[in-house]
Symmetry: C2
Subunit: 427 residues, 2 copies
């Protein structure tokens, strides 16, 4: 029979690959919990409209959209933030503030599969809602830094690109630029095109030579010195204040060494209104490892009665895994069980079954289900990563004894079964 191939851009997680995915997800969630965030989730399918409102240009184009049997236009979620906003909007008055939530969301986007980009991926989301205080932005950025440290990465491996959309917008306004959203979208693509192409793209929006020079220079700023000297709009001043406040908190946390001010960071989503940031590979080999920002109007846009501003980011598993592999920080995670039961005669295992069930109340225990020869059983014990093997041998069994073999040292020990079961043995 012809084999059915899985879809392009998807992955089969055999146990070996699933262990790696679980390691990544557990690390994400462990850090989120330590910062006091709570786990939540929404449905995998939602009305497509949810992402057609505020997710920008690219996302709706990349969605898996279809009509269900009831005629509803449904999308497989391409990202989680609109679901979050919908859920908060539904219950905003009941939820005590700040709302600190995380989630590992399985998402789908119809893109050309390439390095670091698949059609199905897992995205960790962390969001803090219900306060404008920049301490929230600092905490959210701190979780991203801590996650990277938890993976064994340090300043030489990654950094945070940080800016504020209000401020960038005001800077562009001070250059007398008119089509600001369009120009911002071009700046977002700067790293992906040549300088020549970049200039040409800007020219298409009728920027003068001197404006193009200004934009190019702005993207090289690494501090607030030049922005401060410009005559900024009120909104721009607000953005500058926010960014300075955020930097103050990150400095107090002793995390400012991880952060670089960067006026070329935009993020694709239209819903960001203030802080924007990315976790970035120092060697710039990969695209952003994580990205996020502050979205002050999104929950209101989804029908909340009160304003609930928020800040958060997403970190996907695909680029992260490639990055960790590249810098050799992805550990080998092998299979492991506490005990394997090997028997010299099938009758013995039948008699041992009730004790095995007892052991399984506390330990992971495996045995040969196929009644293979003893040597095959011992080799299987190694394959499943047994720390110890319980050997059932006729002579010892008659005396109520079992043999315990330490699979690392090879040392064997005869033990009374009843006593062994009573022992508080440590794996």
């Amino acid at each position: 029979m012809k084999r059915i191939q899985p879809l392009k851009g998807t992955r089969d997680f055999y146990p070996e690959q699933k262990r790696v995915l679980n390691f990544i997800i557990n690390t994400w969630e462990k850090v989120a919990k330590r910062y006091g965030y709570e786990d939540f989730d929404g449905p995998m399918l939602e009305p497509a409209q949810l992402w057609q409102m505020k997710s920008g240009q690219e996302i709706p184009e990349q969605m898996y959209v279809f009509e269900d049997k009831g005629g509803r236009v449904v999308a497989v979620r391409p990202e989680l933030t609109p679901t979050l906003a919908r859920m908060i909007a539904q219950k905003s008055m009941e939820l005590s503030k700040p709302i600190k939530w995380y989630s590992t969301a399985r998402c789908w986007r119809y893109e050309a599969p390439q390095t670091g980009r698949l059609r199905e991926f897992f995205q960790f989301n962390i969001d803090c809602l219900g306060t404008d205080n920049m301490l929230a932005d600092a905490e959210v950025v701190a979780t991203a830094i801590t996650i990277m440290q938890e993976f064994g990465c340090d300043k030489s491996d990654f950094y945070i690109r940080l800016c504020n959309r209000k401020l960038i917008q005001a800077v562009l306004e001070s250059f007398q630029i008119k089509k600001i959203p369009e120009v911002m979208r071009i700046i977002d693509k700067k790293d992906k095109v040549s300088e020549k192409n970049f200039k040409e793209m800007l020219k298409e929006y009728k920027l003068s030579e001197s404006q193009i020079k200004d934009v190019l220079e702005m993207t090289t700023w690494t501090d607030l010195y030049k922005a401060k000297k410009l005559s900024l709009s009120e909104e721009g001043k607000k953005g500058l204040e926010e960014l300075e406040e955020l930097m103050k908190y990150l400095k107090a946390m002793k995390l400012d060494g991880f952060v670089k001010i960067d006026f070329s960071i935009m993020r694709g989503f239209d819903y960001y209104t203030s802080t924007v940031f990315e976790v970035f590979d120092q060697r710039k080999k990969f695209r952003a490892i994580a990205g996020g920002g502050r979205y002050d109007d999104l929950v209101k846009d989804f029908g909340s009665r009160e304003k609930v501003s928020g800040v958060g980011y997403g970190m996907g598993d695909v680029v992260l895994e490639l990055f960790l592999k590249e810098i050799k920080k992805l550990p080998e995670i092998s299979r492991e069980i506490d005990y394997f039961v090997a028997y010299m005669k099938p009758e013995l295992v039948e008699e041992f079954l009730p004790y095995m069930e007892e052991l399984r109340k506390k330990f992971s225990v495996d045995l040969d289900l196929m009644h293979r020869g003893f040597n095959k059983q011992m080799s299987h014990a190694n394959k499943v990563g047994a720390k110890k093997t319980i050997i059932l041998a006729p002579k010892e069994w008659e005396k109520g004894e079992i043999i315990i073999k330490d699979m690392k040292t090879g040392k064997q020990e005869v033990k009374n079964l009843k006593r062994f079961l009573r022992e508080d043995h440590q794996g």
Copy 2:
């Protein structure tokens, strides 16, 4: 702005609901690991064909199917077993036997939402492949019993309905019944219709009065006594042997008290070839809590070069949660963090930030991000389930001291900050 409603038959998992779901999933997976099973997963979307081959009549009708942008006919997975079979078929020669895998799969079916049935649900799957030995079937059934026990359920709450398809088929043959698959499908519906309707459905397939009487009587058998007295086909004898062997192992495991032989159990999937079983509510208020069986040809049907027989089951979260609630075994799971930091002046928390980051390397720590008044902070500490609160008060802080308040007893203690950080404090 108008609110967007989530789709019918889906759930929003606010943290409160997510804690319950996580409790259920963690219990499933904990038991699977103790029995030596490994975690795996496949994609959420797969070619629709995968479920059109062997999943029976109902599943393909209930699938969410659509054409993707590349013209592929794609389904949102309605169950995991065909994905498992595809993955094993792809690599059967490389995988060491037996293959013992588990997975918690998010699935979708387009059904009328009703009690115990939603369109999106989570299904735990456990499967043992690569051996015909009934010890494997016994182990798989044992994991289901252990899971139910782990949830605090005992013999008075649930039981296992168990039979063998080869045997049932042979019994029906011995009644001279011709349209066996159709009759089996009717027997599967027996509990859902009146006896009168049941008889009428059988009559439609031209069963005589005496054949109907035979079928009705068969569905009441609770042991193998009557089946053994019939003249059975070779296949039927094989099925009888398998079932007796399986019962022997379950008895050896001291689990036979949970099991009732039941000739009315069929399971909807066409791929079962031998053992079939269900976890069932003693009060028969709910539909099956779990169901599964042995499928000897499925992996081969999906293109494996060698025969890889398997046995496994699925347990969904929806019926299980209703059942546990009904019998009052679903625990209250409240939010909990180790420390909450409350401060009398905003300047204090800024100075405390680096220590908080240090504490977060080990503990879950939260603080007020909104610079609210002290009383509001203490009430928020209770809302987030803080076990202890670290109080930053100006006088103590000047001396390098903090106040630790036990939120359960209300007891307060002044501690030197540096010493506190060095301590190996237990939550």
